[in-house]
Amino acid sequence: MDYATLLQILDSTLRLATPLLLACLAGLFSERAGIFDIGLEGKMLIAGMASGAAAALSGSVWIGLMAGIGASMMLAAIHGVASITFRGNQLISGVALNFVASGATVLIAQSLFGQGGRTPPLSGAARFNPIELPFAEAIKAVPFVGPFYADVLSGHSALVYAALLAVPITWWVLFRTRFGLRLRAVGENPESVDTAGVSVIRLRYTAVAITGLLCGLAGAYMATGLQAGFGREMTAGRGYIALAALIFAKWRPWYALWATLLFGFLQALALRPDVIERSFGLAIPVPALDALPYILTVIVLAGVVGRAIPPRAGGQPYVKER
C-alpha cells in the first residue's frame, strides 16, 4: 500500500467515522446517565429526513441542520417521557422509536415531495460544502505531513470538525464539570444524587436532550454533508454500529473517538478489496471485514481484552420512594 492510497483510505475513514462518532457520543451521554438508547438509528434517520427536507425547502443548510436537530430532539423527548417519567422499558421504547422513524421518514418525505420517500437533490448553499483548512495548499509540499494535512484533515464539511471537537468537549463536560459528575453519578447510583438534593429526573432529561442534539448532527451530516439529500433507510444500521462502538469504547469519550475511527477505517478498507489483496497477499472476503466491528465488540464484551462495565444503574427507571 503506497502512501497516496493510504491517504485516500484515511480520508474515507474520517468521512465514514463521523456519523458513527456523533452517534456514539450521543449514546455515551444517554447511557452514562442511566438511559439505554437503542433508538440512535431512528433519531439519525429522522434527523436526516428533516434536515434534507428543510434544506431543500429553504435553500439553507443551516435551517436544515436546525430542523434535523429539532426532529431528533423530539424523538429523544418521547424516549425521555416513556422511560424517565413513565418508567417504561427503555429498550422497548428505543425499538419502537426506530420503527416509527423508519416509517415516518418515508411517509413525510413522500407527502412533501412525492419522490418516493426521497428528498430532492440539494445543491449550493443547501448542502454542507467542503472546507479547506488554512494553509492546506502551502503545507502540501512538506513531505509526509503536508499531504496528510491537505488530503486527509482538510476538505471536509463543517460537521466533521464539529464531531472531532465534540470529543474533548464531552470529556471536559463529563469529567471536569459539576454537571458531568452528577450525570455520571445518576448513571451509577441515582439515590446518592437524589440524597444530595439534585433532581435525577432533570439530569436524565438533560442527558437525553444532548443525545438528541448529537444524533441530529449525525443525521444532518449524512443527508446534507455526505449526501445531497435523504434516501429511505439511508443510515443502513450505523446507529447499531455506533452502539457497538460505545461498548468497545467502554463508555469513554476518547476511546469512543479511537473506536469509531477504527470502525470507520475497517469500513473504508472494505471498499478497497484490491488494496487488501496486495497488502496481505490474500483476498479477505468483504463481508468478513463488514462483520469485524461486531466481532471485536463481542470480544471486548466477553472480557478478553479488558472489561466493559456498563453504568450500574443503566436501564433501570428511577423510583424515588418505594
Binding site: S12, F99, Q115, G116, R118, Q227, E233, A236, D274, P287
Partner: protein, 329 residues
C-alpha cells in the same frame, strides 16, 4: 420483531380487504419501494400507462418486510385480483408454493423463473443492455479505467457486471474495470453513503466512468460522479435527468413494458418464460436531451451497430446466470 411483522401483515391484509373485489390486475412492489427512481418505479410507470390508456383500475402493494410476501400474495389472490404481477427475484420461492393453490389466478414474476403452469416468468437480457453501455463507457473513458458498482451481491447483479465488462473489452481490450458491490444484505439497496464512498474509491484508482446497478445506493454513486466531475451511468430507468450532462447514459430495462403487457393481456396472459431482449426492446440504452452532448455520433454508430449484431445473433453476450461464471474480468 416477529410480533411487529404480524402487525404489519395484518395492516396490509386490512388495507387489501377494503379494496374492490373485482378482477382487477394487481402489482406488488419489492422492498426497494414504489418510487425507487429505478426498478419498481419503472413497474409503476407501466401500470400507470395501462390505467391511463384502458381506463381501468389496479391494486398495488408495497412490501415492507420479507415476512409479508406470502401473506400479501395469498390475500391478493383471494381478493380476486387477476393477473398478479410482482417485481423482483425475491418472490420466486414464495410464488412457487403459492401459485399451485390458486390455479385460476395468473401470476407474472419479473426477474425470476418460476416453473408453474399459471405463472409467466419475465426475464430480461440485462447482459445485452449492459454490454451496450459498457461499450459507451469504454469510448467515453479517457483514462482507460472504468468502474462498476453493484448493489447486493447476487447472481443477477453479477449478470449486469459481466455484460458490462464484455462491452468495455469489446471496445478497448486493455481497459481496466474496477468492480465493487455495496453489500450482501438488503440494506445494500439503500446505503447511498457507501455507494458514494465506493465511487470515490474507484475515482482514486483512476475510473472516470462508473456504471451502477445498485438501486437506491446508486443515487449516491451518480451524485458523487457528478460532484467529482466524472461520468455516471444509470440503470433500469432513464436516470439521465438526475444530473444533466453528468450521466453518460442509462441502461434501460423496460420493466414498464413488461407490466404493461401483462396488464393489457389481463386474464388471458400467456404463461411460461417470456424473454425481454434487445429484439423486443426489452433492454437498451437511453439517449435524450440531457446526455446528447456526451454521446458522439461515432459512439452512437458503434453501439447501434453492435445492437444490430446482437439482434442478428452475430455477437453473443455471455449470460452470467447461465453458468455462474464470467469469461472476462
Amino acid at each position: 420483531m416477529t410480533l411487529m411483522n404480524k402487525f404489519l401483515g395484518a395492516a396490509a391484509a386490512l388495507a387489501l380487504c377494503s379494496g374492490a373485489a373485482l378482477a382487477d390486475p394487481a402489482l406488488i412492489y419489492d422492498l426497494g419501494g414504489k418510487f425507487d427512481k429505478s426498478f419498481n418505479e419503472a413497474a409503476y410507470g407501466g401500470a400507470k400507462k395501462w390505467a391511463d390508456e384502458a381506463g381501468g383500475s389496479y391494486k398495488e402493494l408495497e412490501m415492507q418486510s420479507e415476512a409479508q410476501r406470502e401473506q400479501a400474495l395469498r390475500r391478493l389472490a383471494e381478493s380476486g385480483a387477476n393477473p398478479i404481477v410482482m417485481t423482483g427475484f425475491a418472490f420466486g420461492d414464495v410464488l412457487n408454493t403459492v401459485a399451485p393453490d390458486y390455479p385460476n389466478t395468473k401470476f407474472a414474476i419479473i426477474d425470476m423463473v418460476v416453473d408453474q403452469p399459471n405463472v409467466r416468468s419475465v426475464v430480461f437480457t440485462e447482459e445485452q443492455g449492459s454490454y451496450l453501455v459498457g461499450m459507451m463507457a469504454a469510448q467515453a473513458s479517457k483514462t482507460g479505467t472504468v468502474g462498476f458498482i453493484g448493489g447486493m451481491d447476487i447472481p443477477l447483479i453479477r449478470k449486469f457486471a459481466c455484460g458490462y465488462v464484455q462491452g468495455v473489452k469489446a471496445v478497448n481490450p486493455d481497459a481496466k474495470v474496477i468492480q465493487n458491490m455495496v453489500g450482501t444484505t438488503p440494506t445494500a439497496w439503500s446505503d447511498t453513503v457507501k455507494g458514494s464512498e465506493l465511487a470515490k474509491a474507484q475515482i482514486s484508482q483512476g475510473a472516470d466512468v462508473i456504471y451502477h446497478a445498485a438501486g437506491g445506493s446508486g443515487i449516491g454513486v451518480l451524485q458523487t460522479a457528478a460532484d467529482e466531475g466524472i461520468l455516471g451511468i444509470g440503470v433500469d430507468r432513464n436516470q439521465n435527468h438526475l444530473h444533466p450532462g453528468k450521466v453518460l447514459t442509462s441502461m434501460l430495462k423496460r420493466v414498464d413494458n413488461a407490466v404493461y403487457d401483462a396488464f393489457k393481456a389481463g386474464e388471458a396472459i400467456e404463461t411460461g418464460i417470456h424473454v425481454m431482449d434487445l429484439k423486443v426492446d426489452g433492454v437498451g440504452y437511453a439517449l435524450d436531451d440531457n446526455n446528447a452532448a456526451l454521446v458522439s455520433d461515432e459512439m452512437k454508430a458503434a453501439v447501434d451497430a453492435a445492437a444490430d449484431k446482437i439482434k442478428a445473433g452475430e455477437i453473443t453476450v455471455h449470460d452470467y446466470m447461465s453458468d455462474n461464471t464470467c469469461p472476462v474480468e
